[in-house]
Amino acid sequence: MTVHGVHMSDIAKLETELMTAVTSAKDEAALEAVRVAALGKSGSVSALLKTLGSMTPDERKAQGPAINGLKERITSAISTAKEALGMAALDARLARETVDVTLPTRETPAELGRVHPISQVIDELTAIFADMGFAVAEGPDIETDDYNFTKLNFPEGHPAREMHDTFYFPPKPDGSRLLLRTHTSPVQVRTMLTQKPPIRVICPGRTYRSDSDQTHTPMFHQVEGLVIDKTSHMGHLKWILEEFCKAFFEVDSVKMRFRPSFFPFTEPSMEVDIQCRRDKGEIRFGEGNDWLEILGCGMVHPNVLRNCGLDPDEYQGFAWGMGIDRIAMLKYGINDLRAFFEADVRWLSHYGFRPLDFPTLAGGLST
């Protein structure tokens, strides 16, 4: 059929040519060239479209759909091809960008850093006792003889003073001598002198005794507790210590043995053992038939109350004390006290705690 205008077979031929060109375009530039050649201002399809204007209505009716159809199919083919080429190009780029993901990253500082077991255990103690209404009290390491001994009912020259191998500073012109506190009890004295009962405090801190061997270091850590009010008695003391031991050692129950003992600043005084099982160097609490001494305690001696300005007929209370390093060793299976103070990062990495492992009662102290 031949009419004024374009022969139908030419349209089909052009379409075949253009489709071939589209599919064989290797990249976006080649495809663009095909687009310009077909659909550009002077492209082959554009030229056909221009012929529509000079056609008779009938011719236009006959050829219009064919020519427009051609334009649409080519446009669509180019767009599809363009998308495919874009994806291939992206894939190729990403392939080029491949890295070796097995290379190690830098260690997170928060994973690398460690908190010392002593700090961790102090935080554990604080959590447990805070829950029972205890505040934390602190005092200076360099103390007076009066606060470290005399006010605590250590008579001058009494052998009990000798039990503490005390570090002294040189005598002052007035003959008095400062010392390094041998226990944290002077903090109790300071608390009683400055605070009105009821008092509930724990006093953790560094303490010093001139002693150094397998199981003693000249510096160590103690935590003491003090309750002063008008009604607290030994039964309460037992309960608090039982609650503490269960919470601290994270066991459901623990048997405790209270043995009468002697401390100048308490009367009656007791030493406390807890039930444990020793198994090939490991100690388990809350089971077994062995006893392990963990703390000393007692009712605050009337003389101590008096020395701190409290009337022993009106006020009463109790106190206890234990070694932080010792209970840390027991709980976490650390066997050498001296290693606590050697700052060996191999030891600290192993026995230390991650900075974000903050002990809470809600989350479990050590989990």
């Binding site: 190690p104 008695h233 030994m234 043995r259």
Partner: protein
């Protein structure tokens, strides 16, 4: 304090077993440290006698012995001990015998072709003694077939008590028995010494002469026994002394030792023939010396108490006698002393001279004054029994009568302090069995304290006696609620800062160290300390002598130790006390950190991702600011001033302050001089901040955070590069820019610092980015330009900087 079971039973009537007694002792406060039972431990090892010892046919060093073990048939035993000889009484172990101390079982068969039917034993082989030179040699009269430990008098358990210093009464077997008697597991047998009348006046007089000074001897009893024959004491005395680790010497000396342990009453015996004239008890004269029984010569002073005769000092009162007047086998006349001494003085003298004796141990705790004369009577009786002789009358100087203590005791004290109730009858019975005397009835009684209990003064002591005997187990555990008070923080601000500081530094990859509070004087001096007031008078070691003025010294030496052990890239921190003086307010909580070699905050050590960077001053600065931020410091108020203390690199250190009056801390590279002095290698950077110098946080009426106001208008960022003199501080440029319009300028950051090509020598280019945040309308270009020009002008005015072309 040690004693044997049979010794205890001499004062204590009981059917209780050893285990029951031991358990009870511990539970009444006489903590049993150990029970040694040598008889039980070695019961399988018996006395045997070597009949003959022939040379082994196949071994030069071995002998083939025929041994009589009491069974009638001699055993053939091969033995290599050099002392295996015919006639020797020794110890035999049969095959299959288990040795607990060594956890081995004897196994013997043929030795070099000769059968051996047992083993003769050295002390070391069974853990009996350290003697490994030969087999044990027993006395010739040792009965064959009897356990050898029994023959040596070790035939019963020895109980050792860890005695608390408040219980002088239990430094004696008698006192322990009395305490046990209160528990109802047996009855205390009170053995009161009989009076031994003297037949003639004591020829030696005693004068207590302390002039106007504090008397150191309240009372002194003395008597003479003449015509004694001193020799070994009876076997039972020797056995008891041996069992508790004392060496028997002679009867007279053994008697004093025996009564010391049996009754807690130390005595002294003088050889009367070696004492010249009368005795005077007085203070020593400065420089006087005494050759004591331990063979050492002590130089004395006026603070010490002595017993002297006309020749001079014969005894150091209550602590140790003199060699010269001591008793030996030749003694025929003996003066027995039983005295009371000033407790504190005995303790001080003993400590000063470094003498620990059983006498001192008791006198410094306080012996029973009422037993001074009875103790002397008991000693006299034993001397007469063991050595014969004739006793003089007793002379007593001074007055031994004790001051009686009576405690007014309301029964309600027991529930008040201990939370338990006992019936009045139970209270009385318990106290009376302990030797107290209870008078009165009803709710309030009077309790007289026995003379042997100087530790009991008041009501609380009585409560302790009752609780001790009834058992602390009887006290019911009583819940202790936290009370109705509102929950409040229990930590003080400094405590909160301390714990946050630790977590913050650990989160920056640093490891927490806890180092000694004392360091060497030289180290202290390097960090501004070392004053005499902070030097210990009695340090445990020279390198632990002075209180630390800074945490850095300990961290530096610790880091070096770690480097020497193979961890060169180490980051450490410590939060703890530093000491600027000895008053409480001179002791500060500081936080300090140290980084060594490649221990950067953003990665430690070499890594494939980049060139290894050694630590620098900015690592230390970042650590310091991290800890300050965590501790709640007012970060906007902190100023950084170049330079720091002498231990830091003068050009690579900074001081953090809030105004010149409040120095918070320092950071920087450690001074090379410090590294040399501490034998440490760098690079080493560190910081130290004093957490207590931070101002207290302002009290806030509410926990609500201030209202957040976000501007709806676009912020504008403009960059400026200034060429300034290279000495100009970046902080001054930033501040100048910021101050142009504090409302509009929301932030100024330094994003480049450049020196080199393109910038003339002595100058540097500092590029800043200024963020402008309009609040009520979008900024127009002319407004932005105008602000920019103001910034350029202000920076120029303040720092001499000109915009880089």
């Amino acid at each position: 304090m040690k004693f044997t079971l049979s010794w205890l039973k001499e004062h204590f009537d009981t059917v209780a077993t050893l285990d029951e007694i031991v358990e009870k002792l511990t539970m009444i406060g006489l903590e049993v440290e150990r029970v040694e039972d040598k008889a039980k431990e070695f019961e399988a090892f018996k006395v045997a006698q070597i009949i003959s010892a022939e040379q082994h046919p196949n071994a030069d060093r071995l002998r083939v012995c025929q041994v009589d073990n009491g069974t009638g048939t001699p055993l053939q035993i091969v033995c290599g001990a050099p002392n295996a000889r015919a006639g020797l009484k020794t110890v035999l172990g049969l095959p299959g015998t288990y040795i607990p101390a060594k956890d081995i079982t004897l196994a013997i068969g043929k030795i070099r072709g000769v059968e051996s039917q047992g083993m003769m034993i050295s002390g070391a082989e069974i853990g009996f003694s350290s003697d490994s030179d030969g087999i044990i040699e027993l006395p010739a009269d040792a009965p064959i077939g009897k356990p050898f430990a029994e023959v040596l008098g070790l035939n019963e358990p020895v109980i050792e008590i860890n005695l608390t210093p408040n219980r002088p009464d239990c430094t004696s077997v008698n006192g322990i028995a009395r305490d046990l008697g209160a528990t109802m597991i047996g009855d205390y047998k009170e053995n009161v010494p009989k009076r031994v009348p003297g037949t003639y006046p004591c020829p030696v007089t005693v004068t207590l002469d302390f002039g106007a000074t504090h008397p150191l001897c309240p009372a002194f009893g003395l008597r003479l026994v003449r015509g004694v024959k001193n020799g070994p004491s009876p076997e039972w005395v020797q056995n008891r002394l041996t069992a508790i680790g004392l060496r028997p010497i002679n009867a007279l000396v053994d008697i004093t030792n025996y009564i010391t342990f049996d009754r807690g009453r130390p005595l002294h015996v003088f050889d009367a023939k070696k004492v010249k004239g009368n005795l005077t008890v007085r203070r020593a004269i400065n420089g006087e010396t005494l050759l004591a029984l331990d063979g050492k010569t002590y130089t004395l002073d006026t603070a010490m108490c002595v017993i002297a005769d006309e020749k001079g000092v014969e005894s150091l009162a209550g602590i140790m006698g003199g060699e010269e007047s001591g008793c030996d086998e030749t003694t025929t006349d003996v003066l027995i002393e039983s005295a009371l001494w000033d407790m504190v003085n005995i303790a001080q003298t003993g400590r000063k001279l470094g003498i620990n004796t059983d006498a001192r141990y008791r006198f410094e705790r306080g012996v029973d004054p009422n037993f001074m004369v009875p103790g002397l009577e008991l000693a006299t009786q034993m001397v007469l029994d063991f050595c014969g002789g004739e006793a003089s009358e007793v002379v007593v100087a001074g007055d031994a009568t004790p001051k009686e203590t009576v405690v007014d005791f309301p029964l309600s004290e027991l529930p008040r302090l201990a939370g338990i109730r006992l019936s009045p009858a139970e209270v009385r019975r318990t106290l009376e069995r302990l030797g107290f005397f209870a008078a009165g009835s009803g709710e309030r009684i009077k309790v007289a304290v026995p003379s042997w209990r100087p530790d009991v003064h008041g009501r609380a002591d009585i409560v302790e006696e009752l609780v001790r005997i009834v058992g602390v187990d009887a006290v019911p555990s009583t819940p202790f609620p936290r009370g109705a008070d509102a929950r409040k923080p229990v930590l003080t601000p400094i405590q909160t800062r301390t714990r946050k500081a630790k977590r913050a530094l650990a989160a920056r990859g640093l490891t927490e160290a806890v180092t000694w509070s004392f360091i060497s004087k030289r180290e202290a001096e390097l960090f501004g300390g070392g004053s005499a007031a902070l030097a210990l008078a009695n340090p445990i070691a020279a390198e632990l002598s002075d209180m630390r003025p800074s945490l850095l010294a300990g961290l530096i030496t610790s880091a070096q130790r770690n480097a020497d052990r193979g961890t060169p890239d180490v980051g450490l921190f410590e939060v703890g006390q530093i000491f600027k003086g000895d008053k409480p307010e001179d002791q500060f909580i500081a936080a300090s950190g140290l980084r060594r070699a490649l221990a950067k905050a953003d990665g430690v050590g070499r890594h494939w991702s980049g060139k290894p960077q050694p630590v620098d001053v900015f690592d230390a600065k970042a650590d310091a600011f991290a800890v300050l931020a965590a501790a709640g410091a007012p970060m906007q108020a902190l100023q950084v001033v170049p330079g720091g203390p002498a231990w830091l690199h003068p050009g690579r250190s900074g001081t953090i302050q809030i105004g010149p009056q409040n120095i918070i801390g320092h950071f920087g590279e450690l001074h090379p001089r410090i590294l040399t002095a501490l034998k440490a290698d760098g690079p080493l950077v560190g910081f130290e901040v004093i957490l207590e110098n931070l101002p207290a946080a302002k009290a806030r009426p509410t926990r609500a955070k201030p209202l957040l106001e976000l501007s709806p208008f676009q912020p504008v960022e403009r960059d400026f590069a200034f060429v300034v003199d290279s000495k100009v501080k970046a902080a001054d440029i930033v501040r100048a820019a910021q101050n142009v319009d504090k409302k509009l300028i929301a932030g100024v950051t330094v994003f480049d610092v450049y020196e080199g090509t393109g910038v003339e020598p002595g100058k540097k280019s500092v590029a800043i980015a200024v963020t402008m945040q309009p609040r009520d309308k979008t900024m127009t270009d002319p407004e932005i330009d105008a602000l920019g020009q103001k910034i350029v002008a202000e920076v120029g005015k303040r720092t001499g900087g000109v915009l880089r072309g």
